[in-house]
């Protein structure tokens, strides 16, 4: 009697179907084969009696094990205390002032819209250099409305607005009074701003972003907090300690991670409506630490880290990530949903886009100073979708 090649049998999809008893044509086929080869019936029957219970019990345990993992997550979530992020009073004031300003702006806009001619399509202009600065004493300055020149003198530091939408902090030489004072700069939708921090580091804020920083950096470390998207060029700073020169590290904190910088150029994209925090390094070196689970990575130039639940490092398309600092949008096989989120922030419009269209991919380079219609045209020309603008809302249809 020829030895039955069980392995070959199991590799046959129809044989496995026979063992499972479904579909009927495979069952009939193998029944016929067994009638022609009755000597194998015993061995095949052994096989068949095993397959179904194996399938069933493995399925039950797989689902149960995963369910236990889910229960653990639910339990952990219910136990988790509030995040220990200390909200400085200035941030609270800045936030409430920003809220008041936003509400006033919205009310004003509503009343203006009511007055305007409804048949005329509203002209959507691109973003510009605008931001709100909150000083240490809580007072705020709308940076696009105020004139060029010295805006404030606080704690021995001069805050100056220069011509090209930029803010510069410099030591004014007078006595240092308040070492712990902080300022916050925040950009609305459709805004952007550059600033030069007290240590000479440069920060460039994209729309819907904010940066909270001390006006006087301590001797041991420089620490700032940010939201949204900011591009940094951090100045190298050294101090003398026991005759040795040591670099003073610069720390950037966002909601879920901390970046330690020694002197370098990098971009942080931490918008809450994006899938994760993307940090792209151009020059120098940074260490990223996730505050979710303590994972840490060291980036080299040309790399980026992605933080959602875990930190993942990959090669970066640097040009694309920092295109906004050069005044451009660069889309490389980017989903329409992602493109529209960026458009929403820069042009300050709402988006309505069905999920199946949001997955369409587009390539292109568009200047950020172009009106919104340029990007709408870019999408419509491909014929893949129709884009309509009404008031301040973009509606995407087939």
């Amino acid at each position: 009697m020829e030895e039955l090649n069980l392995k070959a049998l199991l590799a046959d999809e129809s044989f496995i179907n026979y063992c499972k008893g479904y579909p009927a044509q495979d069952v009939d086929k193998w029944e016929q084969w067994l009638q022609d080869h009755p000597q194998y019936r015993k061995k095949v029957e052994e096989q068949r009696r095993l397959v179904q219970p194996m399938a069933h019990h493995v399925a039950v345990t797989t689902a149960e094990d995963n369910y236990l993992r889910l229960k653990e997550r639910i339990a952990k979530k219910n136990k988790k205390p509030d995040k220990g992020f200390r909200i400085s009073p200035w941030l609270k004031i800045a936030a409430s002032l920003l809220l008041i300003c936003s509400i006033s702006y919205l009310i004003l806009r509503q009343s203006l819209l009511l007055k305007s001619d409804h048949n005329k399509q509203s002209i959507v202009i691109p973003g510009e250099d605008k931001a709100l600065l909150t000083l240490a004493d809580g007072s705020t300055i709308s940076l696009d409305e105020v004139a060029v020149g010295t805006l404030a003198l606080e704690g021995g530091v001069r805050v100056e607005k220069t011509k090209n939408g930029q803010l510069i902090y410099s030591a004014s030489g007078s006595e240092i009074q308040n070492q712990t004072a902080s300022n916050t700069i925040s950009t609305p939708k459709g805004g952007q701003y550059r600033l030069i921090l007290p240590d000479g580091s440069k920060a460039w804020l994209n729309a819907s972003s904010s940066l909270h920083y001390p006006i006087h950096f301590e001797n041991n470390e420089r620490r700032v907090k940010m939201t949204g998207e900011v591009y940094f060029e951090i100045a190298k700073l050294e101090k003398r300690l026991h005759g040795r020169t040591e670099r003073i590290p610069f720390y950037v904190e966002t909601a879920d991670q901390e970046i330690q910088v020694l002197g370098t150029h990098f971009n942080v994209n931490s918008y809450p409506d994006e899938p994760g925090i993307v940090t792209t390094l151009l020059e120098g070196s940074v260490r990223i630490t996730s505050s979710l689970n303590g994972e840490t990575v060291l980036l080299r130039p040309g790399q980026q880290s992605f933080l959602d639940k875990h930190l993942v490092v990959s090669a970066a398309d640097v040009e694309q990530q920092v295109a906004w600092t050069a005044g451009d949008f660069i889309f490389k096989s980017e989903s329409l949903a992602s493109i529209l989120r960026k458009v929403s922030r820069w042009y300050d419009v709402d988006i309505v886009c069905p999920p199946h269209l949001g997955k369409l991919k587009f390539d292109g380079i568009v200047s950020r100073s172009q009106p919104l219609t340029s990007i709408m045209d870019m999408v419509e020309i491909t014929g893949k979708a129709k884009v309509k603008l009404t008031e301040r809302r973009i509606i995407v249809t087939d």
Partner: protein, 209 residues
Amino acid sequence: MPLIKRHDLKEHWNTFVVEECEEAFYQIYEYYHHYLSYVGTKRGFAMDVIQDTINDVFLYLWENRIKNSTIKNQHNYIITIFLRQLFRGDAKKYELIPTMATLFENCEIPSVEDGYIQRYTEDEVGRFVKEKVAELGEKQRLLIYQKFYLGLSYHEIAVANDISINTVYNTIYKSVDKLRNLLTAEQETFLKIAIGALSTFFLFFLENQ
């Protein structure tokens, strides 16, 4: 407890939402664990990613049960949020999905009748297998799940697990073979004990003649 059917879903969903009944929740979870594993593996995702995503979905469903109590088509809703979450971090595998509702509409998991399962899982061999299957390796159990229970093709399993199709054949064969040998050994032992007991009985009987 037997796996629920698709048309039972609405009733279980209501029980779960209204009474916060964990049992109903688990039954929905179990059904969709298999269904979504099938969907996700067919699209080439690895099991650990799929399982995490399933849990993401059900965590969301649990936390938003009141808010979502008015959802009309629970089946499509679950599939939609699952796929959205699955493709969220993996731009490379992003594809244009035409209409969610028509996807996999006609596929039923498991691809076998309940009565059949009952017959073979509750007999002696079935109980034995239940015990021994826990001794199989994690990878072996995963492939058995995908091949024997979910009914995916060897090619689909190889792609999703990122292994060669030969490895899949070998792993499955080894697991079945191991269980078959264990079963034969067990039956032989049983037989030996039975013979031993019988012999003792006869000896005793004969002696007393």
